[in-house]
Chain length 324, copies 2
């Protein structure tokens, strides 16, 4: 198991990958990250999930708050608000802005997002290959009924998530720009050459779902020669973090570990997974998942610290080994 | 004297305009600012002189240090340096970066620099019309002989000024982009309708000289219906601030109030000035300046505080009144 490729969203994905790297210190780990949350804001390219992973693996993340940089301040954002530029409800930390400015400058110099990400990550010695799923701009937008006007509107995912705290029902998610996008060669190659492919316990709709919506990824996961194991982001009917239930509702999937596993589906039946880890409290769902063709185990899934995350990664790797 | 238009560089120009506004509280003051020091750095448009004027008139400047924002910090710049992006010797303050990010976003939204400057300045209630001399990008570059390689190189003015502290001799100054540039209608109109035109005690080469190099400005100054009065930026053979001597040397002008006055020249002889204020220590030069056709007075020119700057402005206005 020397080559492991992980599909991951932001904070939850970052914690899982940190545990994985702890469990397999010598492995070559590639992380294919969601870029659907990315946006241009005040002329800067903000990539929330790439940065969550980079900061967490670089030990620069704010562990207490759960996101962003440790020791953060918000002086620049206050200036932008005073000038009426940007989104006043979307505060960018000063240290974080350094990343966005550097990224935007590199992108404007003509580097791809993959190259830019490698340049930025080099500073942090993150120990894994961090790969945006695509170099194209594919942004997740959300169709809502405006609570004030009653009109149907489409807003950027971050506006729905951060401004509205996902409290306005999402009618559907759109992947703006997906038709002309492709997965990067680096991401496809990481799937092709992996001994195991893992789905981090990230949001099944707007993290993993966005990654697999990028042309080329679903086919590459289905064609992967190593087993594909997912970790449920739902424990006892609750999202481990974030507001996954509001996302799942929009695509008609119940907020249960079982429903999410069956939503991904068994590879042998044209789906994406060979194996699935559910929390021990969801052990009752193992039977129906196995019936759906997904080899399932129930283990503790709360990522309370690095050791707990490493144990989850270990369980996923062990399941993969049994499935090889 | 209800309409006064001032040609100004950065810090010195800002202090002079502050004194002028103090002396003429009811006047309509337009400031035509140098934009030759402007640059794109890490994807952000930095306009040092516009910002010096805006911060000073907005009472947000760092009076002690002499430039930038009061209460400044430099957390973002440290991040950029850690990523290897930008110029490590050109530190941008966090609060100042707020301005650059906002400006760059507005410019990318399609606003002109004039419109952008008005939007930014609105926050600060600066009490004057702050007008970039041009909406085109005309950047001052400096031809030097590289001290390490011996090769002739052309570098941005800020690299010469800030990194090399103007210690590498300037062979000449270039106005990159000037051929396709024009002064703004707003700037030309401010000269056309002014009761007085004033040259702030700014650098005669890279501030005032850059403003008058913009197509349309020299002609408009010559055609101004009100008197044109300059304030010497040189006192007793020393630049009041900055390294004006290194700039004057490159254009073959002595670092004296008299030589700078004669360099501008008398309007009646095809030059730019009707009147000129020199410091009282330079009173001996009055005769030769008057002989050159420039009405000259010697008054205290050190802008030690707002009152001193206001007294200088008062002397300039009084001289203009005598010349009408």
């Amino acid at each position: 198991m020397s080559r492991v490729t992980v599909l991951a969203g932001g904070v939850g994905g970052a914690r899982f990958v940190r545990g994985l790297a702890h469990h397999l210190p010598g492995a070559e780990i590639s992380v294919i990250a969601n870029t659907g949350d990315d946006l241009w804001l005040a002329g800067l390219r903000v990539c929330p999930d790439l940065d969550s992973i980079m900061y967490t693996l670089g030990a620069a993340n704010d562990e207490q708050r759960g996101w962003g940089r440790v020791g953060e301040s918000e002086r620049v954002s206050a200036e932008l608000t005073a000038y009426g530029v940007g989104w006043p409800w979307f505060t960018l930390g000063d240290l974080d802005l350094g990343t966005h400015i550097a990224r935007s400058a590199l992108l404007r110099d003509g580097l791809t997002l993959t190259e830019t990400t490698a340049r930025l990550a080099a500073r942090w010695n993150i120990g894994v290959r961090l790969l945006p799923v695509t170099d194209d701009e594919v942004e997740t937008h959300v169709e809502i009924v405006d609570p004030e006007t009653g009109a149907v509107r489409v807003i950027h995912f971050e506006e729905w998530w951060v401004r509205h705290r996902a409290s306005v029902p999402a009618r559907r998610f759109l992947h703006r720009g997906v038709d002309s996008a492709t997965a990067t060669e680096e991401a496809l190659d990481a799937l092709r050459t992996a001994d195991i492919v893992l789905f981090a316990p990230s949001n099944p709709v707007v993290s993993i779902g966005t990654i697999t919506a990028i042309p080329g990824i679903t086919e590459a996961v289905r064609a992967a020669s190593g087993p594909v194991i997912g970790i449920a982001p739902i424990i006892a009917g609750q999202a481990v973090r974030g507001m996954a239930d509001a996302c799942l509702r929009a695509i008609g999937v119940d907020t249960t570990a079982s429903a999410v596993g069956r939503h991904y589906g068994a590879r042998e039946a044209g789906g994406l997974l060979d194996g699935w880890l559910v929390d021990e409290t969801d052990a009752a769902s193992v039977a129906e998942l196995e019936e759906a063709g997904i080899r399932t185990e129930a283990v503790p899934l709360w990522m309370t610290d690095v050791q707990a995350s490493a144990a989850i990664a270990a369980a996923a790797v062990a399941l993969a080994e049994r499935l090889r």
